[in-house]
Each structure stands twice: as structure tokens, then as C-alpha cells.
Symmetry: C2
Subunit: 337 residues, 2 copies
Amino acid sequence: MVSIKDVARVAGVSDKTVSRVVNREPNVTRDTIEKVQLAIADLGYIPNLAARSIRSSRTNIIGIITDFISTTPYSGDIVRGVQDWAGANGRTVLLANTDGDLEREANVWRTFKAHRIDGVLYVAMYHRVVALAAGEVSIPTVLVNSHPEDGQDHPSIEPDDFGGSYDLTRHLLERGHRRIGYIRLNPLLLGANQRLDAFLAAAQAGGVAETDLTIRLGMEGPIGRETNYVYREALDILSLPDRPTALVCGNDEMALQAYLAALHLGLRVPDDITIVGFDDFRTVSLALKPELTTVALPYYDLGRQGADMLDQLVQGKGSYAERRVLKCAVVVRGSSR
Amino acid sequence: MVSIKDVARVAGVSDKTVSRVVNREPNVTRDTIEKVQLAIADLGYIPNLAARSIRSSRTNIIGIITDFISTTPYSGDIVRGVQDWAGANGRTVLLANTDGDLEREANVWRTFKAHRIDGVLYVAMYHRVVALAAGEVSIPTVLVNSHPEDGQDHPSIEPDDFGGSYDLTRHLLERGHRRIGYIRLNPLLLGANQRLDAFLAAAQAGGVAETDLTIRLGMEGPIGRETNYVYREALDILSLPDRPTALVCGNDEMALQAYLAALHLGLRVPDDITIVGFDDFRTVSLALKPELTTVALPYYDLGRQGADMLDQLVQGKGSYAERRVLKCAVVVRGSSR
DNA sequence: TGAGCCAATGTCGACGTCGTCAATTGAAAT
DNA sequence: ATTTCAATTGACGACGTCGACATTGGCTCA
């Protein structure tokens, strides 16, 4: 591999001068700069970041730890947000996945420390509370799509499930819906409760009687291996004598099943029944006909802003107490009326 | 940061001896080993990989370059496969995304070279032919979910779209289907042609007259911003006077729209119409009721085996001419009969 | 007893980069 | 002409690790 000394020899200057040119330090003649740049181009020299980091004890690498990278489609958008930030700010991204295994997680931390990375984004693939082994974490860390347990102090950034669900429910109330069905997410998901609570709060604030709400559990069991009652429950709700005029689903995948149930019963969306989802998981929400009214999770921004928060932290400017919450916007499409 | 010398001082030995213990070299007394390990634990010493890599000019880092990480859900499984391999083999993964932008791609290569990584997995998020700027690539590189242009010599690993589609079609023929509809993927996708060709080949081999096949284009236009005719075409095909008994869709997302069209027309799956997809994109294939018969893309194995091929290459054992093709298995579920 | 050998440990320097400080040069100021 | 100063460049060492080689001391065997 070609090193700074090779460049120096070819350019006829000292290695330090090459270093100055590479790092754009002042007080180098235009002449010298050109000579050096020529040599650099000739040899295809690229600075060795490992060597650089030994001297400077900053690596400009940030690490991402994910738990269940593949169970939530499109949560990859979080990673993409981080990468875009990193690319724009001269950082590189180390990626590691734990599959939720504590031993693997410990390994990941060790590897990250061995690489002397500047900071860590701990990305939960479904919205939840995270407890980091207290001793482990000596690297600045930001929790993404999650927040810390009580007593732990890591900055965090997460979606406003409550607000999104509240707004979505208000959207339905404004359209005059009064009898509403609701199919819940797996209660293990933090979003499940926040979404349901917001639904109930908005309904109550809108003066809807609790007896006009039909609430069913759509899924339960361990993440990734849950049992799924959605289709059955949707059929059931839609067959009620005083059938709701709107059906709210815990997420878009559930909404898909609600569509199937409605169509199976000969009901038209949205003429006979309004169906809404959550997540704006586009492979589903845009494939459904009519397209699905839902709430967009700000995955990309979670990653991008999370990276920025981490950077503040690394530079000693951030606050360990920051809890950032990102708005989830209602996306109105054809499935609601 | 605590270094090997700190450990040496505390343990009362030389730094080299600590190095020996850390790297499990022979000819160290049990006594010494214990002393050193104690000091290591006390100080929380973790070897600095950057320093190590300077000496050894091997980093044990592999890079992943992705293009459109988020447009294909679950293609993240490729990355997961790579990570699992890396975790099991003591490697770390650097991740970079180009969004299909050539300038960003050039940057990524430069960054990877600056990190002196051992090799690169170039991961296409949809199956396609890839042309790497010839001059750029001086790092061992394996193409994943893609294969090189004629004349380029990089090993590659990709799914057997043709075989999967052929088997799927045979599955239908075996069940007695003779009038079959087909909705094509965006022709820009490599898989689109392979899947269609296999469909036609299998149909012909099965003695089906071409006039009994109804083939429609489901999508066209630039990836990520295509126009979608699937629902309309499905409605149309299913309304034909001599309606097919089976409808083959380019992928699962299209199959979803075919379901909706079928249900809209009052048809039952699979009693009135058999529908099959491709990809086994589980958020859709398992959410559909009945669940979808489809073909599984071996994303995870693409990543895992790709990493292994890269490792061979890095060690000088691999062949630059290797073109590995992974079988795509038919997954029979309730949507076909 | 002493030559020979091996196990155990240490010393030193190099990897590539850059911070520190010194050396050199030329021009401005006296 | 001499001093002063700033701009430019270079020599050197340190970062953390480990390979090459040296040293030490005890043991074996004739």
C-alpha cells in the first residue's frame, strides 16, 4: 500500500509537507501543493485512517447496534437515515446486529470498543424500552426508536405514536364516524399501548360513548412468532349487527387483513367501511386499493436526527437527558371517508 | 484509553508478554498468563484494532455497498446474512449506501480504501447486472444479488429466478391448470425476464398452448417511481370470458393486488382462482388469507454465502470467475389448488 | 563439568500519520 | 547593513501493537 512517505519521495518534499497538503493546513506554497497533489494522483495515495486514528484518538466511525433488523420491514430506513448523515459529515458506519441475544450484544460492544469508535446508535427495530447493561456502555450512546429505562441516562429519539394515533382518530371523528372498531397490536410493543391510549383519549374527547367502540386483540406472543387473530377478529367485527363504520388497525399489515375480511364479506372500502392503518409501510399501504389512510412513522428522520444527536454528544455539547419525540403525520388516502 | 503498556506495568511484565497472552501465543507460563489476565480485567483493556491493523495490514473489516437499501423490503436480510457470517468469523462490517448515485459510490470506495478494508460485498437491492468502474476496484469484491457485465471478472452470487419460476409454473401445471394469467414485473428488473422466460418455457414443456396464456405488464418506469397497472390488469384478466384458473404474479406485492381484484369481483381464492406470487415477502405472503403460495428468495443465504466467497477471495483461494446461483424454493400455501 | 538446547521473557524498531519544534529563507523595518 | 519577523519546510518522536531478534536461566546428556 502506498503511504505518505512514497508520496513525499515522488514529490520531493518531506512527509510532513504531504500531510499538510492532505489536511489543507495553511502556509504551504501553491507550487508545493501542486507538486504534492500530482504525486498523490499519480500514486493513487489514500490516507490510512487507522494510522490517523492512532495519533488523534478520534476515529470518525459511529456504530449502529440493531436487534431484530429483519422482522420489521422498512425499519432499514432508520439505518439509511444514519448513513446519509454519516456520508454528509465524513463519518463511517460500523454495523452490528444482535438478534436480541445478550451474549452477542456484549460481543458487539467489545468489538466497537476495540475499534475505538466515537459513538453508538442503539437502534431498536420495534418501539420499546431499552435497558443497557450499565457497566458496558462507556461510549456515547443514543437510543433510537426506544427510550431508556427509568434511571438510565442516555439521550433517545422515538416516534410519537400517541400523537399520531390521536390525530388519526380525530381524522375519523371529523368525518363523522361514531361507531369504531379497533384491532390492537401485540401488547409487547410499546406502540401498542400508546396507540390504543391515544385512540381512547381522542374518542372520549370527541364525545364517543365507550359502548360504541369495539376493541379486539390482533396479535400476541413473542415478537417474530406471534399468533395472529387479525383476520378472524376483523371478520367478526364486520359481521356485528351494529357494524362500525370505521375500523382502526394497529398497523398496515393488519389493515391488509381487514381489507381481505371486508371484501370477503362483500363490503366496499371506503363506501361500506373505512379502514385505516399505522406505519405507512408503503409496500402495503400503496398496494392496497383504494390506497390506505395511515400514519407515517418517521424512520428515516429517526436515524438522521439520531446521528446528529450522537454527534453533539461526542463533541460534548449534547445533553444526556434529551428525549426527542418525532411527529407521526396522518397520511390521508382513499380508504377513509 | 488504556494501552498494552499500562497492562504491562500493572502486571509487572513487558508489553510484548502481554501481547503474547492476548494473542494466545505459546511459551508463556501459566503464572504469567494469570497475572496478565488479571491486569487486563482490572484495567478493562481492549486491544486497539487500528494499531493492530497498521502492523499487520489486515483489518478484518469487510465493507457492504448497497444501492437502494430501502426500496426492497426484507432485502435487509442480505445484510443480516453477512453480519451473521462476520460475527461468527471475527470480522466487522462497514456499511455504506449509494442511493444509486455514482458520485456517492465513488466516495464510498474511497472511504473503504482509506479504512484498508479486506474486501467488499457489492449488494444490489434488486436483481440486476452491475458494472463496476474498472479502475476503482482494487479491493477484492463479490457481487451479491447481481452479476457482472460481460468482460468483468468479479465473483457473484444471485438467486435462481429462472429455476424458481419454472418450478412454480410446474406446480400449477401439475395441479391441472391450463389457462393461466401472468402479470409481469417491471422489465427493468433482471428477475422480470428470467421469471417470465421460465414461465413460458415451463408452460410450453407442459404442452400448454400459447393462446391459453394471458400475459400483461404490471409495472413500468424507473425503479422506485414506477407506474402500477397491476390492479387494473388483474381486474381485466379476471373478467375475461374464459377466465384463467390461475394467476401468476411477478411478486408478492402484485399478488396482493390480484387478491383485492379477485375479491372485488366476488371470486374466492383458491376456489375460483389460484393466485401465486414470488419473493415470499412474508409481511404480505403470510398476511394474505389464504396465505400465499410463492417462491422464496434466499436473501439471507445470499449474504451469508457471499461473505464466505469474499473471504475465500481475500485469502487468495477463491476464483474470480465463480458465478454462484442459489435455488429459490416454491413455498406452497393456501392460495393455490 | 560443560556444551547444547529450549522455554520464557524482554528489547527494539517499524507500521502510517501528524503534533511539536527547529531550521531555513526572504522580505520588511530600522 | 543589520535586525526582526513571518512564511515555509523539515526532522523527530509518539500513538498502540507486534515481528524479529536477543537474553536469561534451567535442564539434558555425554
